[in-house]
């Protein structure tokens, strides 16, 4: 009897020893190509070097859509990665499938890691949260739309960057046109001029608390303020104050980079890329303008980009490893490194403070604009949106906006079509959850 007990103790001691020696390996599927992918690899290598119990392997799976589709196929085959990066428009799909992921807040708590949502920057906190405010996905590459401008162009025209669209239309744009520039272009109509338009003016975007409270959601896009904005865009385009180069991101950024367009609405995460390009002019950035006619108290925007989700169905040790990786990722050193290398915003207040203390924003004032905009006062409808089949809804928006801007349809019927088709998609999505 004693002999057996002794043996059992010995055996378990041996196994425990082995477990401590062997590294727990986890995989991380992401959609960060090129230079960004290299930075992800550096973060992973930093984590692997910081301790010897866990090893994370990042795998590039293509575009955001391809990564999500690959993750879904792998999940159905029982071969899902431990961590997967899912973009903003796919949030409803991955969060709706309860049981596919472990809420990141639970994962951290279960593994004894402190979590306080107030440590995160205001505009970052609730986009990937459930209706009770529990964080489901860990914000990763977070960005928000801001306005970049060509300093020399504005000097030549004798204007300052506009704070409001009224100022743009009456002062800035005519002067820039006079100076020989195309005043404005933008790279993402659904994200910049729709989702964040609603947030910047604290307007309701969808029923059920912008979709967070229920799957029975209706889009509220047929709003006079946004229709007035698009009517203004059509007028500006006719007057040569605004140009649209199609749906592609790069097609609209290129004329700004070439110095033909004076101001460009892009992502706060575009900063690193613009800096690396060695443009023929100096650039800076300012916040997304708002309409004074709509509000005199503009509110914050919310994050775009993507978040990391811990997929379920993994062993406890692997979940522990994923939790430890999140701890490393959210540390202010890692966040500051990520912020500097990519231009994405740091997601925690501590990392923001670290960047300030280091004088990062004295060197690059434009790098701070995104965080400042995310830290503006919040409103009832500024946390984001949660709508299913949102990838298709964005496709519908892009299609109708393109038709509006090319004169194929008018603002009124374009928005009516978006409203009708989006609500049909939302109704269909609700049935997939049944």
């Amino acid at each position: 009897m004693n002999f057996f007990k002794l043996g059992a103790v010995a055996v378990s001691a041996v196994f425990a020893g082995q477990a401590a020696l062997a590294e727990t390996e986890i995989t991380f599927w992401h959609a960060m190509g090129g230079q960004l992918g290299e930075t992800v690899n550096q973060v992973a290598a930093g984590f692997n070097a910081s301790q010897d119990e866990y090893k994370i392997t990042p795998v590039f799976k293509g575009s955001y859509e391809e990564t999500l589709t690959a993750g879904i196929a792998a999940f159905r085959a029982g071969e899902q990665p431990n961590i997967i990066q899912v973009f903003d428009a796919g949030a409803a799909t991955v969060i709706g499938a309860q049981g596919a992921t472990i809420p990141v807040q639970d994962l951290l708590a279960d593994n004894g890691i402190d979590f306080d949502i107030n440590d995160y920057i205001a505009g970052v906190r609730y986009f990937y949260a459930d209706s009770d405010g529990k964080m489901i996905g860990m914000p990763f590459n977070s960005s928000t739309p801001i306005m970049y401008y060509n300093i020399q162009a504005l000097e030549k025209a004798g204007v300052t960057p506009p704070a409001t669209w009224e100022e743009f239309a009456n002062v800035t744009a005519p002067a820039l046109k006079e100076a020989g520039y195309i005043p404005l272009s933008q790279s993402h109509l659904p994200w910049i001029f729709t989702e964040n338009f609603f947030s910047r003016h604290n307007l309701q975007f969808a029923s059920s608390n912008n979709g967070y409270d229920s799957n029975d959601t209706q889009i509220m896009i047929n709003n006079p303020a946004i229709k007035a904005h698009f009517s203004a865009l059509v007028d500006w385009k006719e007057q040569g104050l605004f140009e649209w180069y199609g749906t592609g991101w790069g097609d609209n950024a290129k004329p700004f980079e070439d110095g033909n367009v004076a101001m460009w609405l892009g992502s706060s995460g575009s900063f690193g890329g613009l800096l690396a390009k060695d443009l023929g002019f100096d650039f800076s950035a300012t916040m997304l303008p708002y309409w004074e006619a709509v509000t005199t108290e503009p509110t914050q925007t919310f994050i775009g980009g993507a978040a990391l989700f811990a997929m379920s169905g993994q062993s406890a040790e692997e979940n522990k490893a994923a939790a430890e990786f999140f701890r490393y990722l959210t540390s202010s050193d890692t966040q500051y490194f990520w912020h500097q290398a990519t231009g994405y915003v740091p997601i925690t207040e501590a990392a923001y403070e670290a960047a300030k203390a280091d004088g990062h924003y004295e060197k690059f004032p434009a790098a701070e604009v995104g965080i400042q905009q995310l830290s503006l006062p919040a409103g009832e409808f500024t946390r984001g949106y949660r709508m299913g089949f949102y990838v298709q809804i964005r496709d519908v928006m892009n299609r109708e906006y393109g038709r509006i801007l090319t004169g194929e349809t008018d603002v009124e019927s374009g928005f009516a079509t978006i409203e009708a088709e989006s609500n049909k998609l939302l109704e269909r999505f609700a049935k997939t959850q049944g």
């Binding site: 575009s63 859509e65 391809e66 999500l68 589709t69 879904i72 999940f75 159905r76 796919g90 799909t93 991955v94 709706g96 499938a97 309860q98 049981g99 596919a100 649209w244 180069y245 199609g246 749906t247 592609g248 991101w249 097609d251 290129k254 004329p255 089949f389 990838v391 298709q392 496709d395 519908v396 892009n398 299609r399 109708e400 906006y401 393109g402 038709r403 090319t406 194929e408 088709e421 049909k424 269909r428 049935k431 997939t432 959850q433 049944g434």
Partner: protein, 293 residues
């Protein structure tokens, strides 16, 4: 006369089995799944699903945008098929007459065949580029405010030109070999009867080329319907916006990008039926009137 045959049923079955199992695994099985999931709306992760009957189909036919895409697909297929066949035929007839340096001409004309659709798409991006494309400059010189990816018709034109260009060599190879298999005696007899080259082409060469042409017609229609996917995806850079697209591209957009399994399954079933109808129609109605010899 003694009929050659198998003494037992098992040998032919065994010989057919590999082919049949490939068809079963790669066609019947997934096709069956597609039909089944076209009657459901399901969560892509496989948690929830609702049986919706024919709703996925009726939603499509009620959607004016889907009908517009279907109409574009028809026009696009007709134009690509017509131009790639007629230009290839013209080139083949001319190449057939060349005696000196014939081989190098033919090789040059066939070269494009080796280009993969996405590569053809990339060449299209450069040639039709909004700011720097030479073809864009050419159209502008003609007075057309050509803007690919901004203007619907401009993008459609690029789709068609690149798709036709990519398909001409295939047709050219087949037409040329078809021309060369027309017996010399027939040609010489025709030469004595009539000296008009045009007349001889329509009365003698064209009917004798009909079997090749019929075969190519089917190949070209399926090419335009399905194989142009890579060209379209590359040209619109994965973001179709207000640009045209074909039915196959729509399946990809909704299924692979949008994770709408039920809706995209219904679309693939519609395409399957379309191809089935097309095939039956062509073999029943057209093939009877063409004589293979």
């Amino acid at each position: 006369m003694k009929r050659a045959g198998f003494t037992s049923i098992w040998l032919p079955v065994a010989l057919l089995l590999p082919q049949l199992s490939i068809i079963a695994i790669f066609f019947y099985w997934p096709a069956g799944w597609a039909v089944q999931s076209s009657f459901y709306l399901q969560d892509p992760f496989g948690f929830g699903s609702t049986f919706v009957g024919f709703e996925n189909y009726t939603d499509l036919t009620a959607n004016s945008e889907y009908m517009r895409i279907a109409w574009f697909t028809v026009v696009f297929t007709a134009l690509v098929t017509f131009f790639s066949l007629s230009i290839a035929l013209l080139l083949a007839v001319k190449a057939d007459k060349v005696i000196r340096g014939a081989k190098s001409y033919r090789t040059l004309l066939m070269w494009v065949y080796a280009v993969a659709p996405p590569v053809a798409g990339f060449m299209g991006i450069m040639l039709f580029h909004q700011h720097t494309g030479p073809i864009t400059d050419f159209f502008k010189a003609l007075g057309w405010d050509y803007k690919i990816l901004v203007d619907y018709n401009s993008t459609a034109t690029a789709f068609i030109i690149v798709s036709v260009w990519k398909q001409i060599p295939v047709n050219f190879i087949f037409f040329l070999s078809g021309l060369q298999s027309i017996p010399r005696a027939v040609r010489e007899a025709a030469m004595i009867d009539n000296r008009s080259g045009v007349r001889r082409f329509w009365d003698i060469t064209f009917p004798l080329l009909a079997p090749t042409g019929f075969f190519l017609l089917i190949i070209n229609i399926t090419y335009a319907l399905f194989d142009t996917f890579g060209i379209i995806d590359t040209l619109v850079k994965g973001e179709p916006g207000n640009n045209p697209m074909t039915l196959v591209y729509k399946v990809y957009m909704d299924g692979f990008r949008g994770n709408d399994l039920g809706g995209s399954s219904a679309q693939s079933v519609i395409l399957m039926v379309l191809v089935l109808v097309l095939t039956v129609f062509q073999f029943r109605l057209i093939e009877r009137r063409i004589h293979y010899s």
